[in-house]
């Protein structure tokens, strides 16, 4: 059984614009899949339907055998602990330390009181440090997050996702705000996570070249519809042109 299955998913924010149309795809455990498409194609919304940060309208999302749309509040939180998420703007709490931000990934496993009082076990803290070390930013652990560079902040974001011990990591444009150097570091880390730890990664990207370099499989989204889904090498130039439309051809390879 695949880890994630999306069936006939539809979503619209208002009656006129339908953001997602009949989306249908499945992702197996350990896959590294990239979703590409022009801005406004519905990539972000699709990702957020998977952990129900956005309510599902019609259709189903099955994660690990559970119907995401049918979970009650408590079960949804439990389900979310198994899905890490990485954001374009890192979404860290700016005034808190790096290590605190990493430990935020443990909240799903804690009681409300335990989380509010910040009661983390020594193992959790040790693990947080190990993860920071793995991503090469252990020295920054006691710095405030807003003092870090973008690339460093994104690595904190990855640590926060990893400490959840997720089966799936959703990455929403993880390198869109980064320079090429930092982008490469981040993508390498994501790739490593998927191969070494066997965690499934779904990465929204707008750089086609990056997607082709890193992903096994690419899914192309255009105006809310999946117009391409297959192994990365199969994504040919005319397929790319179809996804992005002719007029943006010269923009996409940059």
């Amino acid at each position: 059984m695949p880890l994630l299955e999306v069936k006939e998913l539809n979503k619209s924010y208002n009656s006129e614009i339908q953001v997602l149309k009949n989306i249908e795809f499945s992702v197996g455990a350990g896959e590294f899949i990239s979703i590409i498409g022009p801005s406004g194609a519905g990539k972000s919304t699709l990702l957020r339907c998977i952990n129900r940060m956005v309510e599902i309208e019609t259709g189903c999302v099955f994660f690990d055998g559970k119907d995401v749309g049918a979970q009650n509040k408590k079960d949804l939180r439990r389900l979310r602990t198994n899905i890490g998420m990485i954001f374009q703007h890192y979404n860290l709490v700016p005034r808190l330390t790096v290590i605190e931000n990493v430990l935020h990934g443990r909240f799903g496993y804690k009681s409300t009181i335990g989380g509010v009082l910040g009661l983390f076990t020594e193992e959790e803290k040790q693990r947080a440090f190990d993860l920071l070390e793995k991503l090469g930013i252990a020295e920054q652990a006691y710095k405030r997050c807003d003092q870090l560079s973008g690339g460093q902040q994104q690595r904190v974001g990855i640590c926060r996702a990893l400490i959840q011990e997720p089966k799936l990591i959703l990455c929403d444009e993880p390198i869109a705000s980064l320079d090429p150097n930092s982008s490469k570091i981040i993508m390498d880390h994501l790739k490593q996570i998927s191969t070494e730890l066997g965690i499934t990664c779904i990465v929204n990207l707008h750089q086609v070249e990056v997607a082709k370099d890193y992903a096994h499989r690419i899914s192309g989204l255009k105006q809310g519809e999946v117009v391409f889904d297959g192994a990365s090498p199969l994504l040919s130039q005319d397929k790319i042109e179809h996804i992005y439309g002719m007029e943006t051809r010269e923009l996409i390879t940059v």
Partner: protein, 261 residues
């Protein structure tokens, strides 16, 4: 800027000035205020201040009593502000559009805050005085109620300003509402909130003097007493102690603000 806009601006300016002049004239008429008379009294008033508001040796002997009352007033302001801040935090969390649990509670929180803020502190003092009598608790409660409304509004603004992106991230990790509020919202708004609390303590020491006059407590009562006895030397001393206290607290707050904001 072209001719037309210039002319329009000039017209607006003239209009504004006309309104101001009309408002001044109307207000003077209603309040029976005489501008010339009032300007004329200024030199006399200052002459009176400099010749009568003098701190004498005799007045200084009353300093311990004065300081005791001042102490009561300062503590009253701090206690009222701090306790109001705790309640305001909950009201603000209920009222803010980013952290509200539901719409009904949000409307209730905003309504309570608006009511307590827009009924002036004098009205609260007078209402509470009827049953609570002349003691510190009356003043404390009056300041508490007025502060509650003001801080709730200020805290709602601070919470609304907090970055929502980290809230999204914590939601995605499966955190509960209170975990998100305490670890993503509060850490971001806390420095701003402390700044408002300090500002309110300063303000409340001045309001406490006013409330004290009405409710017969603290330094305000002391001032009223000697003022009515025409003992202006002590009045001067009391005023000076208030000035020193307010400026001291302002200086401390400024330093704290410089570090945390």
């Amino acid at each position: 800027m072209n001719e037309k806009i210039m002319r329009k601006k000039k017209l607006q300016l003239t209009f504004v000035f006309l309104i101001i002049i009309a408002a001044t004239y109307l207000s003077s008429a209603v309040t029976e205020y005489n501008l010339f008379e009032s300007v004329a009294t200024i030199p006399a008033a200052f002459a009176w201040i400099f010749s009568n508001l003098i701190i004498t040796q005799e007045a200084l002997e009353r300093l311990p009593d004065i300081l005791e009352k001042l102490n009561e007033t300062i503590f009253m302001s701090i206690a009222a502000t701090t306790i109001a801040a705790v309640f305001s935090l909950f009201l603000a969390l209920m009222g803010s559009k980013t952290t509200k649990a539901n719409n009904i509670l949000s409307v209730i929180a905003r309504f309570v805050a608006s009511l307590s803020r827009n009924i002036p502190v004098v009205a609260w003092s007078l209402i509470l005085l009827i049953s609570f009598g002349q003691n510190s608790v009356t003043g404390f409660l009056a300041l508490f109620v007025a502060t509650l409304g003001f801080l709730t509004r200020a805290f709602i603004e601070s919470i609304d300003e907090a970055d929502q992106k980290s809230v999204e991230a914590l939601t995605a990790t499966g955190a509960t509402y209170f975990q998100i509020v305490s670890k993503a919202v509060i850490p971001q708004s806390l420095p701003q909130m402390i700044s408002w609390i300090l500002f309110m303590i300063e303000t409340n020491i001045r309001s406490a003097t006013l409330v004290g006059i009405l409710t017969g407590t603290g330094i305000g009562y002391m001032f009223d007493l000697y003022y009515k006895n025409l003992n202006y030397n002590i009045v001067a001393l009391i005023t000076l102690t208030i000035v020193v206290a307010v400026i001291a607290i302002e200086l401390i707050s400024t330093r704290i603000r410089k570090v945390i904001l």
